[in-house]
């Protein structure tokens, strides 16, 4: 095995939703890995399959969703093959998760303190548990933690709730943290605080993290490697700096062009025409073809495979026209 330890290896994951009109594929042949101590970003629009991927990993999918193919290797065990009993030992203990809406995921009738202490070892005494819970709350930056231990979720502001969520997720010292849009519901200043907090915690605790977001800016600030998803597939995957400076997939490139900025003021903003495809009506070829400027007949009929860009193993893109985009990117500054 190489020096870098892979903590999670997702191979050819396929998740279907079994609806009345037949199954639709929400996640299609998604493969990626997360190394120890790094942050992996999944970017995409709504319906691109990024949250479903995250939930598939923890087997938190509700019916009618089901993982129908692939492997999710966590520390040399395939999570898809574990029994529900074994899965419970991993979920929340070894793999923690934080969600977008802290108000709907915190228990409203249980104090924040007892929710943090829930996942502590049974052998700990009450005093030990409380001391540890206060430490955790201080770690995530909740002021006057001792008093707040007995507060309820409704007594917290949005930012504080998200901090409490993070404290709960950290309580069991997970080696992998899954974060589903953790800052989307927050104000910019609070978002900035939470991003810094996550980054600091991750560095101090040597934790790995998968961050799901639709915000290119957030992803750029915190992720080491990024995968861009569209229509249930990974369209491009590369180290964060590489993907933002040299995007090789038209979708990634178009997304970055459509972000408003001062330099583009006065000129019309680039916009991707049309809407993302619906899962029950996927185009036959490349899912992005109907909205792509470079699309030709081949794109519309034949779905491209993920191929490496310039022979670099780290940078892969799913497009027939990688070469043309490399040419184009030389002339256009993102």
């Amino acid at each position: 095995m190489s020096e870098i330890e892979r903590i999670l290896d997702v191979r050819h994951l396929k998740t279907d939703f079994f609806l009345e009109n037949g199954p639709v594929t929400a996640v299609n042949d998604v493969s990626f890995h997360v190394n120890k101590g790094e942050t992996f970003g999944l970017i995409g629009e709504s319906g691109s399959g990024k949250s479903v991927t995250l939930r598939s990993i923890l087997r938190l999918l509700r019916k009618p969703g089901k993982v129908v193919g692939g492997q999710i290797i966590y520390k040399e065990r395939d999570l898809c093959r574990l029994s529900e009993q074994e899965m419970r030992g991993i979920r929340g203990r070894e793999i923690g998760m934080i969600f977008q809406e802290p108000m709907t995921t915190l228990n409203p009738v249980q104090t924040i303190g007892s929710q943090i202490m829930e996942s502590f070892k049974k052998s700990m005494t009450k005093e030990e548990k409380e001391k540890r819970a206060v430490e955790l709350m201080q770690l995530v930056g909740i002021p006057s933690a001792e008093e707040r231990l007995r507060s309820y979720a409704h007594q917290f502001s949005g930012g504080m709730r998200q901090r409490a969520m993070i404290a709960i997720a950290l309580a069991s010292e997970p080696s992998l943290l899954l974060a589903d849009e953790p800052t989307t519901a927050l104000d910019v200043t609070i978002q900035d605080q939470i991003i810094r907090l996550l980054r600091k915690l991750q560095r101090d605790l040597g934790m790995s993290m998968i961050l799901v977001t639709h915000d290119l800016g957030v992803a750029s600030e915190i992720c080491d490697r990024i995968a861009v998803m569209y229509g249930g597939r990974i369209m491009e995957q590369a180290p964060a700096e590489e993907i933002f400076t040299h995007p090789k997939h038209p979708y990634t490139y178009d997304l970055m062009r459509s972000v408003p900025s001062m330099e583009r003021k006065g000129s019309e903003l680039y916009s991707i025409e049309g809407t993302p495809p619906s899962l029950d009506n996927m185009p036959a070829g490349c899912p992005f073809a109907p909205r792509c400027e470079l699309a030709d007949d081949r794109c519309r009929e034949d779905a491209p495979e993920l191929t490496s860009v310039n022979g670099e193993e780290e940078h892969i893109a799913r497009c027939w026209h990688i070469d043309r985009l490399i040419e184009q990117a030389k002339y256009l500054k993102v």
Partner: protein
């Protein structure tokens, strides 16, 4: 005329009483108030876009609703186009003025009636105000649909048939069919997917140019505001903390809050956090009990002693860049106290 003023808001204040429980009433505890909007003054000229920025709870939505007179202001004047002072307007005058101020809301899923076709929705609005006959309506509706980039046959469909971006186009069409003089867009792109946001921003920008529309654009997304606005107003706890042209606000922010807001917005390609940039501490204090002195001082990295005791006035530079801070960060600009009575009232 280029400099025609469409909206002139002066010293507008709006407070809401905090509900008391029965015990508090019996104990005769004093009634407390939330100062949602406090002493806000600004003007917008025809064809301009004013960007309104601030965190949640800073009063930006209350301000826009008070301008539409969905709330009755406690103090101040709202001078709107030829319709006089809306703060005192009633009955017919208010109805006439409200036709000319239209709003687009954040969530296009909850702001369209699911049981009405697009045509019914448009017609209801037009007929309530007796704006046109049935035959005129058809042409107007088709015209407005093509203006927002929707096919004419969409008129007979229900909102459920459309995606988020298309719904927002319909919301914009519904606002524009009234030929408004002022369009208030309250977070119009925040709920949309990123590839759709650019489409809607472009649409609003194009409509504004083609129709010479005046717009108040409310958003917490600074990049969007920067792109679309001519002037920007930053609010904190119900008050204006800084106001100026887009360039002044984003390139030479004078108020610490503005500066921190511009820095806090995550940037693409920044590749990992800049650990040295100033960070805002804590959260917005409760608007019921404001901190002493400058309301921003508990979170301000540059706060001095005077900030804790003395509340700064809004001061203005010769170019109109206004800031409410004892120590504005734009060092080379001189800010002087604003004379509150420097503008004569329009004659009518």
């Amino acid at each position: 005329m280029a400099d025609e003023t469409v909206l002139d808001v002066r010293h507008l204040s709006k407070t809401f009483p905090v509900s008391r429980n029965i015990g508090q009433v019996i104990r005769r505890e004093p009634q407390q108030y939330v100062r949602a909007v406090e002493d806000v003054s600004f003007t917008i000229h025809r064809g301009e876009t004013l960007g309104l920025v601030g965190e949640s709870g800073c009063g930006k939505s209350t301000l826009s609703r008070t301008i539409m007179r969905l709330y009755k202001p406690d103090e101040g004047m709202i001078l709107f186009s030829d319709y006089g002072n809306l703060a005192l307007a009633q009955g017919r005058q208010l109805r006439k003025a409200r036709q000319r101020i239209q709003m687009v809301f954040q969530d296009p899923y909850s702001s369209l009636n699911p049981k009405m076709t697009v045509r019914q929705m448009f017609y209801e609005e037009m007929s309530v105000h007796h704006l046109c006959t049935r035959s005129e309506f058809e042409n107007r509706a088709k015209e407005i649909m093509s203006l927002v980039g929707m096919p004419a046959d969409a008129l007979d469909r229900y909102p459920s048939a459309f995606s988020g971006g298309q719904r927002q186009r319909l919301c914009i069409a519904r606002a524009l069919i009234m030929k408004p003089e002022l369009l208030i867009a309250d977070e119009p792109v925040s709920a949309l997917d990123m590839s759709i946001q650019a489409q809607i921003i472009n649409l609003l920008d194009r409509l504004r140019r083609d129709m010479n529309l005046t717009m108040i654009f409310i958003s917490h997304g600074l990049r969007v505001v920067q792109y679309i606005s001519d002037h920007v107003m930053v609010m904190y706890l119900g008050r204006i903390v800084e106001m100026g042209t887009t360039q002044e606000i984003f390139e030479h922010p004078a108020h610490p809050y503005t500066r921190i807001l511009t820095l806090a917005a995550p940037e693409i390609g920044a590749s990992h956090l800049d650990e040295d940039k100033p960070v805002i501490r804590g959260e917005t204090p409760s608007p019921i009990q404001l901190p002493s002195g400058c309301p921003f001082h508990p979170r301000c990295p540059w706060a001095q002693d005077i900030c804790r005791s003395v509340d700064p006035e809004l001061r203005e530079s010769p170019s109109g860049h206004a800031v409410r801070c004892h120590y504005p960060l734009a060092k080379d600009v001189e800010f002087v106290a604003k004379d509150p009575l420097d503008k004569p009232l329009p004659q009518n």
